[in-house]
Symmetry: C2
Subunit: 400 residues, 2 copies
């Protein structure tokens, strides 16, 4: 069977773990198998390399940073190949460039443009296990590039797309949960989740899979399996919604505490003021997440939005800038809040989900500060100290 | 001015040292300069990577080992380039493959076959400092290769040959000494030494420069400067003997304590026994250095040779094998000895050197166990505990 298997940094953080993976591959290898393995850098290697670069320059040149960081994955590929060969298997390590992964874009944030699979195909044909460095490629100038954090997932899924096979992502969790099991102990592991739901979950802060990787999976119809490295329990498949027979209203709830909420009131409404406000935010590199506006029947405008708490410094600067432009504006900031997002492909055809959510809040007598929706999600801002009570109740009601 | 500068592992072992080198380059950079810098891996990085591989396999696959080890130099090139750019210079890091260094041979012991200098030339033309990973290249299969220990010297001199310029090797000594200053404190630094002398010195255990690098320098007429990293004192030029006006009888004395001496006697002489002896040594991977034979007017053969003390285990095995084949042979091993070698291009035209050496030994009443000569060298095996007295006296007599 042809397959791409990806092992992340925590799965290859020690020589012992690398040996265990090699043992597992050797035990399960069958004549005719065509296996591509994508690996990340060992443990915290990437962080250590960034630290070295930062000791030299606060803003290290990004072309050079890419060349520096790419060595981490290259080391893992060589070590795993040595381990596989030691166990009598045929194996070959390839850098991103050697694996034919061509990228475009700016350094440290490249995107995969194409994969020349000839070299990989040739090795697979003669039973050689191909170990590819994740997170990296080469651009048209022949420079080494990286795909940004979490890019190894993207490498793996893109390779699976090019090689027309399934992609297995091995990590330190047993699969994808409806709710983060670290915050809600009764959380259930999902057997399947659709690409769309997974993308919403990732964007909303679930943090299990890189959104770009899931996007590529969806685009090329790559079935993605997420499971525990060397685990015995079956993990979760990320697949097309047509493969999911039992569509739940809500598949998962994601929780995000890195939130600050801002309300702006008492300004002359209309597109011009709104444009001024969001331009000032953009100029100060503030990420804006939820935006909600209620048209009120007065001449005065009001709008609310959320930003990551980690952007607070830039946000404060923006709000000063906005105040200068629109002196009468009334600004309210709220911290100590969290965002709860319910995601489910079933929502598209079921209008009752929002009503159920509001019922829950009413039942436990909790107010929410803001609410936005997409086709397959509902997000609420609520008080952080009441958040877990709300999540638990919602999880029960929607059987997550 | 166009120049290749090479900085070894101890010169780039910390971020502080890398910054100091960048400062030095920035201070001395002049408009129009064309600078190529070759670097080794930081400090003990290569050893650490080998250790990791050995934890996985006692005999790690050599293709994979090459890919693993090459990351060490790649990291240094990126870090130094970041430091140079931080100081406002234009710089670009290149792996061996990117620098066009094509190699042939077996992994871990490759030889440079050709260098495609187009990419380097292009960068030099627009004033970019090119930082190349030493010790590595790429073979015709597109695999990453390494040149073996000390290979960064070879990379640097080969690049200088291809770029038709001088090569500066920066290290932790202020230059090349007639005698190792760690063992003879009155040793004098040489201003110049010929390629041939340097090659003899390196082979004989002086350990300052890789012999292969000097060979390439001789073949392509590359003037090599050896000096201290960021030092103020002028170092030593390795150049053609025609550039050395004052030819001394003896330029240097090299000392080697890693020696075991073996004498074989009482065997039926002739080429067949000799062949048996040296075949057994080769089969057991014993390095044989000095070989001396005196034809004696009897039917019995005798021969002496030296090997590295570090090969003693293999040597003992060989001697057992020889004893099995030639039961009557008498074997004497001698440890506690050292090899002293006098090297000088002047010897070719001066027959008195050997006589002077024997005069010295006679004067201080020291015997020697073995003596061999080449066109430009005389080597002696003497008792280790008397060695330094002999070296000091010879250094005085020959003004080294």
């Amino acid at each position: 069977m042809r397959v791409v298997k990806k092992f992340g940094g925590s799965s290859v953080s020690t020589i012992e773990k690398i040996k265990s993976i090699a043992n597992n591959i050797a035990q399960n290898y069958k004549e005719g198998d065509e296996i591509v393995i994508v690996v990340s850098a060992m443990g915290k290697t990437t962080d250590s390399l960034i630290k070295l670069a930062k000791e030299i320059s606060e803003t290290p040149d990004i072309r050079e940073l890419d060349s520096l960081l790419s060595t981490g994955e290259q080391q893992t590929t060589a070590l795993l190949s040595i381990a596989l060969k030691e166990r009598g298997l045929k194996a070959v390590s390839l850098t991103g460039a050697q694996a034919g992964i061509r990228t475009g874009g700016i350094h440290t944030k490249n995107k995969i443009e194409s994969i020349k699979i000839e070299r990989i195909e040739k090795s697979l044909k003669d039973g050689t296990i191909v170990v590819v460095a994740g997170f990296q490629g080469i651009n048209e100038d022949g420079d080494i590039t990286t795909l940004g954090r979490g890019g190894s997932d993207t490498s793996a899924v893109a390779l699976a797309a090019a090689l027309k096979c399934e992609c297995e992502i091995y990590t330190d969790v047993i699969g994808i949960f409806g709710v983060d099991p670290r915050v809600y102990k009764n959380a259930k592991k999902l057997d399947k989740i659709s690409y769309e739901e997974m993308m919403e979950m990732a964007n909303l802060g679930a943090g299990v899979m890189e959104t770009r990787a899931v996007e590529i999976g969806k685009k090329y119809g790559v079935k993605i399996y997420v499971g525990e490295t060397l685990g015995v329990e079956t993990g979760t498949y990320i697949c097309d919604e047509s493969e999911i027979t039992e569509k739940k209203d809500v598949t998962g709830i994601s929780i995000n505490k890195n939130v600050i909420m801002v309300n702006l009131e008492n300004f002359v409404g209309g597109p011009r003021s709104i444009a001024t406000i969001f331009n000032k935010l953009a100029q100060n590199s503030v990420n804006v997440d939820m935006i909600s506006q209620n048209e009120v029947l007065s001449s005065k405008g009001s709008i609310g939005f959320t930003s990551p708490l980690t952007d607070e410094e830039f946000l404060n600067k923006s709000l000063e800038d906005i105040k200068k432009e629109i002196p009468d504006i009334k600004i309210t900031k709220k911290t100590g809040v969290m965002k709860i997002s319910l995601v489910g492909i079933g929502m598209i055809s079921n209008f009752g989900v929002a009503a159920k959510v509001f019922d829950v809040l009413s039942y436990i007598n909790e107010e929410f500060y803001q609410c936005t929706t997409s086709e397959i999600s509902i997000s609420l801002i609520i008080k952080e100290d009441k958040g877990m009570k709300v999540v638990e109740r919602l999880a029960e009601v929607f059987s997550i």
